[in-house]
Amino acid sequence: MEAVALKERENQIYIKGETPFNIVCDKDSLAGAVSQRACVFCGSRVVLYPIADALHLVHGPIGCAVYTWDIRGALSSGPELHRLSFSTDLQEMDVIFGGEKKLRQALLELIDRHNPKAAFVYSTCIVGIIGDDLEAICRQVEREKGIPVIPVKSEGFKGNKRAGYQAACDAMFRLIGTGETSNISKFSLNILGDFNLAGEIWMIREYYERMGIEVVANITGDGRVDDIRRAHGAALNVVQCSGSTMQLANMMEEQYGVPSMRVSYFGVEDMSEALYDIARFFKKKFPGDREADAIMERTMALVQEEVRNLMPGLEKYRKALAGKKAAIYVGGSFKAFSLVKAFRLVDMQVVLVGSQTGTEEDYRELEAITDPGTIIVDDSNPLELTSFLKEKGVDIFVGGVKERPIAYKLGIGFCDHNHERKEVLAGFEGMLNFAREVYSSVMSPVWRFVPRAKSTE
């Protein structure tokens, strides 16, 4: 049989239990391998995108802006400037003579038109080559207009999506520390790495409010420039999707002494643990403080209530789904940990798990929590994934838009767990929705018509 992977990629695939843990990752995608990864620009864009009262101007030819126009379900409770796609739409003459003048004019025009609280200016591949001085233009316009104008160093070819996360964190870090922090409660936190898909951050904020904790800044779901400016006044950074905003938390810890904690809001287990961890943090920070004790009590009551409400509904899905096989391929591997646990909660078996940008540490953790025989893969591609799906007889594939047709073409169920989705999948309520999403794909009668059904009759 023909090998599944290209030779250069073989060491990026590991099957649990066959050999001692060993996986190569965090390297450039192989030319011609049809990676599912995007680029540096993409990483920056997804992180900063939900800041709803900022202007997001993409400096480059039209593609980068138009492919990222309103593609994320990151909701805003107020302004929706982030849903517009702004570009300098560089033309040949700009490439030859430089795009600085056009950038400056575009910025002035858009700031006058939209009155944003800040502007982010994204570099694209070409800007890195023609050498436009974004820093200088941004500084000029910032002086002229009196709002922060921040260059995002996101030239597409200068690394992968993770480098883009770093560039986004660098950009936000320029805002942090410039806002007023008096009147912030000592029981306060910033939410990092939740993008308010389908309104998830509103639900998470409500949990924190019920616990008695003040949320200072959403970074970045339903995000606001003024909140981010005062984020350094929070007592704690709670970091989800650690790949994207952990760097910002680290920088804030170093400069402002704000400690951070990694959490996940997906699945009952991780969601509960996140809330308890936060309550424990404040108990430890303020020993004997009556309010800290009260926070813990409220947290326990909250978790108990939510889990009690959730479990009967979940049972129906568990019965139907028990024993089914799941495959996971996501952008960052942190989400994969939670998904593995979430599937276990409904007695499903994860047989394949991979990510675009996991680190060795991430994969080591995945190896620890998955069953023997599970395929663990870094920076995979359609041919590998389809081969694994077939080999493992998968019932449902969890991924994003690019993975969906791969599953469907083979007659396999699919659950969208990426940024285009419209369903709340985080929190306690999200676990039920997740189970329902999986159920409504796996249990659909349409699979009886696909070739796969006939072949297994």
Binding site: S29, G32, A33, V34, P61, Y67, T88, Q105, P451
Partner: protein
């Protein structure tokens, strides 16, 4: 034809539309995307972008959301050091990897803004690659096209790729009976219909490209690395021997298209028509097919046309005098303008992100004998411009792809979804635009949208028309 509110139009006419510096919500896509789509309609072909990894992934996501089909686009995945030292080694490595894993018949390479700007000479790299791999068996054909994204739109990318496929693959020789058909970028259903029409006229036809199967295929037991279908490579090679070329696109460059190349290089008679949308434009296409085949219009289409005329008559009063904004790719805008004009709808604004310089002229050519005056026609438009103009134009409906939805929502008027991308409905690839059957579908859709709008807005809510 009587059109109300014509004074509104005069106002806009007299106002010179401001020329904004920034582009907001573009009404165009980038050039390499069009090339990838064109390559995807060729037998056994894997599109390949010579650039950084993100381009391929973004375009795949964008295309998948329309077709709901896998589309594997390979990439040179260039990183910083390649941008400094040139992307040649990665291009060659990528080609070798694609050849090994996909075993394609052809690889279609399109450049990106990155590789165009660093000055990569793809032609030279390919010559080197051919030397390096000389004697190896089973290697795919390779076609490359220059698609700098800072120049033109996805349509220049699409037509440029078709042109280069012909330039690099077609061969001359004794003339045969075949007719070349270059439809441009239409839906999978449209390509399917065109094949059927050519068959029904008994014409041997090479249609380039053909996305009818490659981007609208059945559920499979085994994943097809390269989906079946597409224009056969052997047929493309023989295109230089055909007896005629039919090319759709009234806004195409007169001296820079596949049809022009076939004429120049192989002296093949070219027939340039508009996209056959609506009765008039379809009649022109069918007239030509009658001439080329020496046959009358097959009964099937006589029947279709008859029923279509009957439907126009039955529904004409619901749509008469309505005003529409049409936006999107230039040739689609021309075709839709022809169709709307002939059913009594006034195209109050025809807008495109493209900048051929020929849009107004093309629209005049298909509407001048129906419309009492010409509509507003603007090239190089984005949705900010279109929205701004829409405020004074008071349209009754807008016609175009999914990205006009926010405008339709703001104006609380129907959006008639045509073209690409259809990201907010299923079945974009199955929308039929062309021929009498396409016009029938469009007419029913438009008329019903107008009726539904009236019904929904009505205080009474009649359950009959």
């Amino acid at each position: 034809m009587d059109h109300e509110n014509s004074d509104n139009r005069e106002k806009v006419m007299s106002k010179n539309h401001p020329n904004y510096i920034a582009t907001t919500n573009a009404c165009k896509l980038c050039r390499p995307l069009g090339a990838c789509l064109a390559f995807k309609g060729i037998e056994g072909t894997v599109p390949y972008l010579h650039g950084s990894q993100g381009c391929a992934t973004y375009m795949r996501r964008y295309i998948i959301s329309h077709y709901n089909e896998p589309i594997d686009i390979a990439s040179s995945s260039l990183s910083e050091k390649h941008a400094v030292y040139g992307g040649g080694p990665n291009l060659k490595l990528g080609l070798t990897n694609v050849a090994e894993k996909y075993r394609p018949r052809m690889i279609g390479i399109a450049t990106t803004c990155l590789t165009e700007t660093i000055g990569d000479d793809v032609g030279m790299y390919l010559q080197e690659y051919a030397k390096d791999t000389a004697g190896s068996k089973g290697l795919p054909d390779i076609v490359n096209v220059s698609t700098p994204s800072y120049s033109g739109t996805h349509m220049e990318g699409f037509h440029g790729a078709i042109d280069q496929v012909i330039e690099q693959m077609a061969e001359g020789g004794p003339q045969n009976r075949t007719v070349n058909l270059l439809p441009g970028f239409v839906s999978s259903a449209d390509y399917r219909l065109l094949r059927e029409i050519m068959d029904d006229f008994g014409l041997d036809c090479t249609m380039l490209p053909d996305l009818s199967e490659t981007m609208d295929g059945p559920a499979m037991l085994e994943y097809e690395k390269v989906p079946a279908g597409g224009t056969p490579l052997a047929a493309i090679k023989a295109m230089g021997r055909s007896r005629a070329t039919i090319e759709f696109g009234r806004t195409l460059d007169r001296k820079g298209s596949g049809g022009f190349r076939l004429k120049e290089k192989f002296n093949i008679t070219g027939h340039r028509l508009g996209l056959p949308i609506g009765i008039e434009e379809t009649d022109r296409f069918f007239d030509l097919l009658c001439k080329l085949s020496g046959r009358p219009v097959p009964e099937k289409y006589v029947g279709e046309r008859g029923r279509l005329v009957d439907a126009y008559v039955d529904g004409h009063k619901y749509v008469f005098g309505k005003k529409a904004i049409i936006y999107g790719e230039e040739d689609l805008v021309v075709g839709m303008s022809a169709f709307l004009a002939e059913i009594g709808i006034f195209p109050i604004l025809c807008a495109s992100g493209g900048t051929s310089g020929r849009l107004a002229e093309a629209i005049a050519a298909v509407t001048a004998d129906i419309l009492p005056r010409q509509p507003e026609v603007h090239e190089g438009m984005d949705f900010f411009d279109i929205s701004e103009m829409a405020e004074t134009l008071a349209p009754d409906l807008i016609v175009g792809h999914s990205k006009g939805y926010p405008l339709a929502r703001k104006l609380n008027i129907p959006l008639i979804r045509v073209g690409f991308p259809i990201h907010d409905r299923v079945g974009g690839q199955r929308i039929l635009h062309l021929g009498y059957s396409g016009a029938q579908r469009l007419f029913d859709t438009v008329t019903n949208a107008v009726i539904a709008k009236k019904q929904d807005d009505s205080r009474i809510g009649y359950s009959y028309m």
